[in-house]
């Protein structure tokens, strides 16, 4: 059948074969390799969520939700956007000295609940009477 085909037909078939071998198959193979790696990472995250008893995927950072959650453990919550892109937020809270463990727990599971990270992985503490004022910068992922 190939022999009775025109030159253009044969050329197209050969080009198709070359594209399949050198482009389509490598892309397909790359995709399936990546998807395997992706599933492994997803399962690691899932394990972490199970460990901390979190039942939902991390949500995109929303100021209102985050503020509400933070207010349940701290007072005087101030969230100030940093920069024009509004990807960074300066967080300033006051927390009772006795609730510092609760705050640490909050930090520990932060990335499992919100797609954020603490910029520089740094927390600043300052004592103010019975409270501790904590500052840190949050960045959206």
């Amino acid at each position: 059948m190939l022999k009775s085909s025109s030159f253009i037909t044969k050329l197209l078939l050969v080009i198709s074969l070359l594209i399949l071998i050198f482009w389509s198959f490598p892309n397909m193979s790359n995709y399936y390799e990546n998807i395997e790696s992706y599933h492994t990472k997803k399962s690691e995250l899932q394990e972490a969520r199970v460990k901390f008893n979190i039942h939902q995927d991390a949500q995109i950072f929303q100021l209102e939700n985050f503020q509400q959650e933070l207010e349940s453990i701290a007072s005087d919550v101030k969230i100030l956007p940093k920069g024009e892109e509004k990807k960074n937020y300066l967080i300033e809270i006051k927390i009772d000295k006795n609730k510092i463990k609760k705050f640490n727990k909050f930090i520990e599971t932060l990335s499992l609940r919100y797609l954020v990270k603490i910029e520089g992985n740094q927390l600043n503490f300052k004592e103010k009477e019975q409270y501790i004022q904590i500052n840190f910068t949050l960045k959206k992922l």
């Binding site: 790359n30 992985n121 740094q122």
Partner: protein, 426 residues
């Protein structure tokens, strides 16, 4: 005064010789005269002899045969080439006819001669018709409905046994493309070769029915009847379908079908018939001992090709499919990479936050009842603490247990209290 009998003059060239014959056509068949032979150096004499015969008889046709190897069978008539209709939608096609300036009015393809010879024997079973002309095998696989495949194989220099093997190989080659074997073989030999007949019978397992006839006789037969000649001779698309008109149906000297006058013959003379488009077609010979490279190369030649828009469009289907498939995976992969990047960042952040929370817990635990923090900077790379201490040694021990390389400094204050500072890398 020219004779009013109908005469067919036949000629062909084999190697360096021209062979010429003429026959008187009668109602009961043709009566051939002696075959004349001319060396190619005597071409003028040869042409002069043809002209002489033409002038002797009023009604003549000059028939010749195309022994070119680049003849193919096609289902369509190609207007840019010369073609002869075999039957139905089967045409013998070749690039051009180039017979020099030798007078010729009817030019036949071995394929059409083969068909005319065996058409009554064709049925729905596959028959391999082989014509052995000028040491070439003109082969076609045919049923009563169509010619399925054709090949021309050169055999010059081969022994009879090798020729028989080539016939068998061509059958196998056809089987590879159609999964059909010919039910039987009819073979028309134009050379007197009893040995070849014997070997073919011995070598080929299938029933082979060879018959022998000379090229001249075959041409006389083809040109002998108007209907047969009209339906079979090679036409040039450039000159249009020239018809052979019967002007003298009831002429006394010719009781059977009659043909054109000498004047008309000149009109049909093919001596100037040349087409320029010769590169598109090549022969469909089966070559022995083809190398792999030759086979690949042959795939790209246009042998027997009947290129249609449909075929070309169909070839776009796999092309579009592989391009589409590649593009799909590229797009999906890019989406996946973005997802993976986010997942990676989330996992990395989670790890860092766990470490940060742990460090913070450790620091506040170390303070215990021994000290109180005033300021602290806690990160995953360093800690810097400052506060008031009551139990210096317990605090120092706790901090040194956690961070042995840390620097613990105490400073007495005026109000009898002691300030401490602690810096360490993690």
């Amino acid at each position: 005064m020219p004779n009013r009998q109908y005469i067919t003059i036949t000629h062909y060239k084999e190697r360096e010789f021209y062979f010429l014959n003429h026959a008187i056509q009668t109602q009961d068949g043709f009566i051939p005269k002696e075959i004349e032979q001319f060396h190619e150096s005597e071409k003028d004499k040869f042409i002069e002899r043809i002209r002489s015969l033409q002038s002797q008889y009023t009604y003549t046709q000059i028939a010749s045969i195309s022994l070119a190897t680049n003849q193919t069978i096609s289902e369509k008539e190609d207007k840019t080439k010369v073609s002869a209709k075999i039957f139905n939608n089967n045409y013998a096609i070749q690039d051009k006819i180039d017979i020099g300036n030798i007078p010729t009015t009817l030019y036949f393809s071995p394929f059409t001669i083969l068909y005319q010879e065996y058409k009554d024997k064709l049925d729905n079973k596959l028959t391999l018709l082989i014509g052995y002309f000028d040491r070439k095998l003109y082969m076609m696989f045919a049923t009563e409905e169509k010619i399925h495949q054709s090949w021309v194989i050169g055999t010059r220099g081969l022994s009879e046994k090798q020729i028989a093997i080539r016939v068998y190989k061509s059958m196998k080659a056809y089987y590879k493309i159609s999964y059909k074997f010919a039910d039987h073989i009819e073979m028309l030999l134009t050379d007197d070769s009893p040995k070849l007949l014997k070997v073919l019978r011995e070598e080929l397992s299938l029933t082979i029915l060879p018959t022998q006839n000379s090229i001249h006789n075959l041409l006389h037969h083809m040109a002998g009847e108007q209907e047969r000649a009209i339906s079979s001779y090679i036409r040039s698309s450039l000159s249009g379908h020239t018809s052979i008109v019967s002007n003298h149906q009831n002429d006394k000297g010719l009781n059977r079908n009659e043909f054109t006058s000498l004047k008309n013959q000149e009109m049909h003379n093919l001596e100037d018939l040349k087409l320029t488009n010769s590169s598109a077609y090549s022969s469909s010979n089966i070559e022995e001992n083809l190398s792999f490279f030759d086979k690949v190369k042959s795939l790209f030649s246009s042998k027997d090709s009947k290129p249609t828009v449909r075929h070309t469009l169909l070839a776009f289907v796999p092309f579009l499919f592989v391009v589409g498939m590649g593009s799909y995976y590229i797009v999906e992969n890019q989406k996946l990479l973005k997802e993976m990047e986010l997942t990676d960042a989330q996992l990395y952040s989670q790890l860092n936050h766990t470490l940060l929370a742990s460090t913070s817990n450790d620091v506040f635990s170390a303070m215990g009842k021994s000290a109180e923090l005033k300021t602290a900077t806690i990160s995953n790379s360093k800690i810097a603490l400052k506060g008031v201490v009551w139990g210096i040694e317990p605090l120092r021990n706790s901090l040194n247990d956690l961070y042995p390389d840390g620097e613990f400094i105490i400073k007495p204050l005026e109000n009898f209290m002691t300030e401490f500072s602690f810096n360490s890398k993690i």
